[in-house]
Amino acid sequence: MNNEVNTQVKSYLTFKLGDEVFAANVSKVLNILELTKITKVPKAPAYMKGVINLRGSVLPLIDTRIKFGMSETEFTNNTCILVLDIILSGESVRIGALVDAVHEVLEIDDSQILPPPSLGSKYKSEFIDGMVKLGEEFIMLLNVELIFSTDDILNLKEVTGEVKQKFGDAG
């Protein structure tokens, strides 16, 4: 193949879980919703928060905090639902992800993206597309596709700790 496509500026949506800022490629984010009535599904894993009515279709809702090994989401005025479009075993699937707050959309050039840190465990770094330094802060670009298609709880807290050690202090 003689393909040549140039580098691109991509847009990322940043959001907060606790004190940490994360970013997801906007192409995966269909919509941002305010909190709405959640119907709990009995006997589901804790991170499966329930289902919501998204304009007539039933949207599974994931508590991102629990998924990332944090405490359960406490609902505030800032709590939002990101409607994500992910590919799961070859099929396009819609899910809602609870986040503590939505920040802004960042334009990030490919060249600004640092490779994901090779962390102690290879398994964790798969969920991160890369890192971006914004001011003094490092933001992790999440691979939402992968994160929300696994059944596992990810200890992202641990990851952010390691990232801070590796980059934060040096940079």
Binding site: T39, V41, A44, V51, I52, S57, V58, R94, I95
Partner: protein
């Protein structure tokens, strides 16, 4: 690209299936011209689209096959058994080519070459003298002269034609590749060498040109330069003047003058020449025009199934919204609003019914495969079997059709393998030589029944019972009715075949069939009598997307229980259930295991509620579910919960109520099994 290829593969599979279907119908009715046309068109489409998506072999293959069917449809070849079998083999091979195009498998390549050779044999050996060439274009430009016309083309590009990247010589080349020509370039406008500008065009052409192409095609060649040149294309005469010696001689003379000849001069010359050729051509053209002109009306269209799913979603959204509107208008005094709301209710109901009808597919679409299966398998096993299908126009939701294919294939396979006897055995028993498998589909209230019966040896109940004993499924002293014995066949791992044959012994048994039917909320029944045959009846719902349910509430969450599974509802005292050890309650004189859903769902017990027990039944197992409140009957449009909830044990879907609230739909089969497991578990503990 993969997506595009996937689309092509889907489309191609459908064409291959059409070809098979047409062939099988043609077997009994070989003169059906329409079907031959249909096969031809399918092959043609496969040929055309194959190459575009990188399936060159398919293109090449169908091109050759198409040649055969071109001969057949023009009555130059008879659709005999040889061609018939060859085409079926080819259809099989096409299926392989679709799936294995990328793999370079020697075996497949060998088969490919073999089939190509056979195709060649068929059309070169049997075609009539003067067989039409495979390529229509070759035929048309063939040197017969009878279907040619002569054109005059004057082409003078603007001087700046090179500036936008056009090379006029390419156009002349392209033109002349289409037929016989005399091209006369005029170079007299080229200036003295000192004043030449290399990027200006000083040449123009007159071309006299004999071709079978239409003047549209000729115009098309100059499409890009229409406004950058002087162009004149005119028909000079019917027939080929370029090869007419007299004509050429006179042109040569005119050329010597170095001036443009012009259409007028040429017309005079051509009119001087013989007229007879022209009249013949006219007649031929007229005939061709008449035969190629046909009326086409579209009676059905193809729609991507995704679009249908989307339509269904929108319709159910509309129904939901409409329910909200009704609710709102009831509380509003405006009679105008009530009238509008009622009207919308009527329209959305109609729309919903229509939409549900659209996603219904006739069982007919499955039959080809079955016919094929019966034909191939009976041949393989040396049995004579005919397959009859009745009521194939009966329609079912496409999802159900999709889920019925495998179970039905398995059942039919069983009929041929185990049911129908060999020819000798049948003759000995005084049965007709040929066995029969009958598929009969019909409506029965909101269900569709599909019966598959054979006139084979029937099921030997005693043999089944003994085997079940041997397998430890029952004990020797268990008394079972014949019906109960047949039910054993559906237990996992049960197979009556003494030898594992190539046909049925593939590890999947009737238990899988049963599972699949259950998954689509269907049931299966067996009847059999020795030496007379076996009948299996599948009862499946018309659609999977709508359900009549009983709406109940536990705490703040609504649940929907399919009405078909609800036996009875009892009001009970809270004390009768709370804190009881064995989870059994006597209702209507029967001891029934019950589940206090609040407890099951990890909610606190509420002593202030008058609980109600709903007894649901799946097959023979009854289970009571204790809920806070029974709200009433509700017709619901089912919505999937999404893959993230696929492992859910009790809930299989959701629905949206009039006020936008979500209700969870209880999967009766799974719920009963889930609770039954708990009971067994508890009993073991005790």
């Amino acid at each position: 690209m993969d997506k595009l290829r996937q689309k092509f593969i889907e489309e191609a599979s459908e064409h291959i299936r059409d070809i098979e279907q047409s062939l099988l119908t043609l077997e009994s009715n070989p003169d059906n011209h329409e079907l031959i046309e249909k096969i031809f068109r399918s092959l043609h489409t496969l040929k055309g689209s194959g190459a575009m998506f990188g399936f060159e072999k398919i293109s090449e293959f169908t091109h050759e096959l198409e040649t055969i069917y071109d001969l057949i449809r023009n009555n130059k070849l008879i659709l005999g058994k040889e061609v018939f079998d060859l085409t079926l083999a080819c259809a099989d091979h096409l299926k392989i080519l679709i799936s294995d195009e990328k793999k370079d498998n020697a075996e497949i390549n060998e088969e490919y070459r073999n089939l190509l050779e056979k195709i060649h044999e068929v059309y070169s050996g049997e075609s009539m003298p003067g067989k039409p060439s495979a390529n229509q274009k070759d035929k048309k430009t063939a040197d017969t002269g009878s279907d040619l016309s002569t054109y005059y083309i004057y082409f003078k590009p603007n001087a700046d034609i090179f500036d936008n990247g056009t090379n006029p010589l390419f156009l002349i080349d392209e033109l002349t590749s289409l037929g016989h020509f005399m091209a006369i370039p005029y170079l007299q406008d080229i200036p003295e060498i000192e004043t030449i500008e290399p990027y200006r065009c000083y040449t123009h052409w007159e071309v006299i040109f004999a071709t079978s192409e239409s003047s549209d095609t000729l115009n098309e060649i100059f499409l890009f330069v229409e406004d950058n040149c002087v162009l004149d294309i005119q028909k000079l005469a019917n027939g080929n003047l370029v090869d007419n010696k007299k004509f050429v001689k006179r042109i040569e003379k005119l050329k010597e003058t170095g001036k443009d000849i012009g259409i007028d001069a040429l017309k005079i010359i051509s009119e001087d020449l013989e007229q007879s050729v022209a009249s013949k051509v006219k007649k031929a053209l007229g005939d061709e025009f008449r035969t190629s002109f046909r009326d086409y009306t579209i009676s059905s269209i193809r729609v991507a199934s995704e679009k249908l799913d989307h339509l269904m979603n929108l319709v159910s959204e509309l129904v939901t919204t409409q329910a909200r509107l009704s609710l709102y208008s009831e509380n509003d005094s405006s009679s105008e609003l009530t009238a509008i709301s009622e009207n919308i209710q009527k329209l959305s109901r109609q729309l919903r019914d229509l939409a549900f009808e659209i996603v219904l597919v006739p069982i007919d679409t499955l039959i080809t495969r079955f016919q094929r299966l019966v034909r191939d398998l009976s041949k393989e096993l040396g049995k004579e079997v005919s397959f009859i299908a009745k009521g194939t126009e009966t329609e079912l939701d496409k999802t159900i059709i999709e889920n019925l294919t495998d179970p039905l294939m398995h059942i039919i396979r069983n009929c041929i393998d185990h049911g129908i006897e060999t020819t000798e055995e049948r003759l000995k028993k005084g049965k007709p030589e040929q066995g029969t498998i009958l598929l009969n589909a019909y409506h029965s209230s909101t269900n569709v029944h599909i019966e598959i019966s054979d006139d084979g040896k029937g099921i030997d109940a005693e043999k089944v019972r003994k085997k079940a004993v041997a397998k430890g499924l029952i004990t020797e002293d268990n008394y079972l009715t014949e019906k109960q014995i047949y039910e054993l066949l559906f237990l996992p791992g049960f197979s009556t075949a003494e030898h594992v044959t190539d046909v049925s012994g593939r590890g999947v048994g009737m238990d899988v069939v049963k599972q699949k039917i259950t998954n689509i909320r269907g049931e299966i029944e067996i009847e059999s009598s020795k030496n007379a045959g076996t009948k299996l009846t599948l009862k499946v719902p018309l659609t999977l997307s709508i359900i009549d349910g009983l709406l109940v509430r536990v705490e703040d969450i609504f649940y929907l229980i399919p009405l078909s599974a609800v036996e009875k509802i009892y009001a009970i005292n809270h004390e009768d259930i709370d804190g009881k050890f064995n989870n059994l309650i006597v209702l209507g004189g029967e001891r029934i295991p019950y589940f206090y859903l609040r407890k099951e769902f990890n909610l606190e017990a509420d002593n202030n509620i008058n609980d109600q027990v709903i007894v649901i039944k799946y097959e023979t197992q009854k289970v009571g579910l204790v809920v806070d409140e029974v709200i009433g009957e509700y017709q619901a449009v089912l919505k999937p919960l999404g893959r993230h909830y696929k492992n859910q044990e009790i809930i299989s879907a959701a629905t949206i109520l009039g006020d936008g609230t979500i209700a969870l739909v209880i999967d009766v089969n799974r719920a009963v099994n889930h609770f039954a497991n708990i009971i067994t578990h508890m009993e073991e503990k005790i």
